[in-house]
């Protein structure tokens, strides 16, 4: 098997495997219109409780 074929097979299986893993955990299924608190993402400390 040529190097190109081997590399392409590895990339393809990795892409499917990796995407399946994150998809199994629900990535990509979140609603897009959720008005999120920035605390969820930053983990920072903000004065006055809620940032929104």
């Amino acid at each position: 098997m040529s190097v190109i074929r081997a590399v392409f097979l590895i990339l393809t299986t990795s892409a499917i495997g990796g995407t399946s893993y994150v998809a199994y955990h629900g990535a990509g299924g979140e609603s897009f219109d959720l008005d999120r608190s920035v605390r969820t993402g930053s983990g920072g400390v903000f004065v006055g409780g809620r940032v929104k």
């Binding site: 074929r5 892409a15 959720l34 008005d35």
Partner: protein, 431 residues
């Protein structure tokens, strides 16, 4: 009467020029390269007539050149230029008569920088013929089966000889029409040629231009092909079929896995809780136990009827941090018109989120707005909430399947484009 086999050179009986005799025992005519006189090779090279030669065609292949084509050593013994005029356009191509002491005669044709090799096919049944009349009267594309291959009509050319020199097994006549009908089957091409009462079928093979030039002792780039020849096989990158097939399989695999994950039902974490709009705001708790923190969903339903209700919600995580605020509109309309009953919208809405940690999440229904539309309308009075955890999503896998499908299509495009360009030479019209 045939020519004396030991002859190597002759002098033109019209102009006296020395001419090489290269063409073997079946040659009947020799047209002088210097004065254009047609000599009878079977009758001591008696001068017959002067060939009305026009300008010498541009070809790097000359009489006397030798080269190996399709594994056989050939010598160029004659050159013919054909010309076709149609609809104000002119096409020209050059046939080089080839001779091999072991394989007889063949043609090396140069047109638009493409080189093809043609050999006469013998022993074919009478039915293996595509006539001009058939082509002109057929309602469907004519096809002929030869040696198990079905050849499909490509084009018709009606040409005349505008230049001739060298040795031939027949008598080229200036201005005499030759009708040649071409047909394709895969990469194979057949020519059905008719001149006067003579019919011949030739198998045409496209030759690599550079290799052919080198075979005849020319520079590899002595000829430069334009476009794609009808008999030209597709030569893509050798890894293309493998990459295309793997991409196609990967697209199918991603699609199937995505569908499976999309239909995984998840686990209920909140049995239906019904809340009257008059009881808002209200906080409802549910427990996320999945340590993998997979996708969770919150589902709303309401008794809307030709009405809408917009419910605002806020979700806090186990650390009492607000995870998000959102709103969902539930609306359902129905009625009857000239086409029958209709309905629009639904009594359900949902939202999905990724829990940050396992624990107790609190969903607060903070407020509601609502309205009605048309007859038989009714303001909704409650909202019912349920929740599930441990769900998956096929979204990214569907996107990945699309990427692989596009890659497979891209890798297939070269062959399809080549196929289209080959058949672009066709003059068939369904009209």
């Amino acid at each position: 009467m045939s020519r004396a086999p030991e002859l190597a050179t002759i002098n033109c009986t019209a102009c006296g020029a020395g001419l090489d005799v290269l063409g073997g025992g079946r040659v009947t005519r020799h047209i002088c390269s210097y004065c254009g006189t047609e000599l009878d090779a079977t009758d001591n090279y008696r001068a017959l007539k002067k060939f009305a030669n026009q300008a010498r065609p541009e070809t790097p292949f000359r009489i006397g050149m030798t080269g190996t084509v399709v594994g056989v050593d050939w010598t160029i013994v004659g050159v013919l230029q054909h010309r076709e005029n149609w609809a104000g356009k002119t096409w020209e191509w050059i046939d080089h008569q080839l001779y091999s002491p072991t394989h007889g005669y063949a043609w090396l044709t140069l047109e638009d920088g493409h080189v093809t090799f043609a050999r006469r096919m013998r022993g074919l049944p009478h039915s293996a013929w595509m006539s001009e009349r058939w082509v002109e009267t057929a309602e469907n594309v004519p096809t002929v089966s030869i040696h198990g291959q079905r050849f499909r009509y490509l084009q018709t050319s009606t040409s005349t000889v505008s230049f001739a020199e060298g040795e031939f097994t027949w008598s080229p006549t200036s201005g005499e029409k030759t009708v040649s009908i071409s047909a394709l089957a895969g990469d194979s091409m057949i020519d059905f040629a008719e001149t006067g009462t003579e019919r011949e079928i030739h198998q045409v093979t496209w030759l690599d231009p550079a290799q052919t030039c080198v075979a005849f002792g020319l520079e590899p780039k002595a000829i430069r092909p334009k476009g794609v020849h009808p008999a030209q096989p597709y030569r893509g990158w050798k890894e293309k079929p493998f990459l295309r097939n793997v991409s196609g399989l990967a697209a199918v695999a991603a699609l199937v896995i995505g569908l499976v994950l999309s239909f995984l039902p998840g686990t209920p974490v909140l049995e239906p809780v019904t809340t009257g709009f008059s009881q808002l705001p209200r906080t409802i708790s549910f427990e996320i136990t999945d340590p993998a923190r997979r996708l969770a969903g919150i589902y709303f339903s309401s008794n809307v009827s030709n009405s809408w209700a917009y419910v605002e919600v806020e979700l806090t995580d186990p650390q009492d941090e607000t995870l998000f605020e959102a709103g969902r509109t539930i609306e359902y309309y129905f009625g009857r018109d000239s086409e029958g009953n209709w309905s629009e919208g639904g009594r359900y809405a949902s939202l999905h989120f990724l829990p940050t940690v396992p624990g107790t999440y609190e969903l607060t229904l903070t407020g509601v707005e609502q309205g009605v539309w048309g007859n038989q309308s009714r303001n909704a009075t409650y909202v019912e909430v349920t929740a599930k955890q441990g769900m998956s999503s096929g979204t990214y896998l569907f996107l990945l399947a699309l990427v692989f499908a596009l890659l497979a299509a891209l890798l297939s495009a070269g062959r399809m484009i080549h196929h289209t360009r080959r058949w672009r030479h066709s003059d068939w019209s369904d009209d």
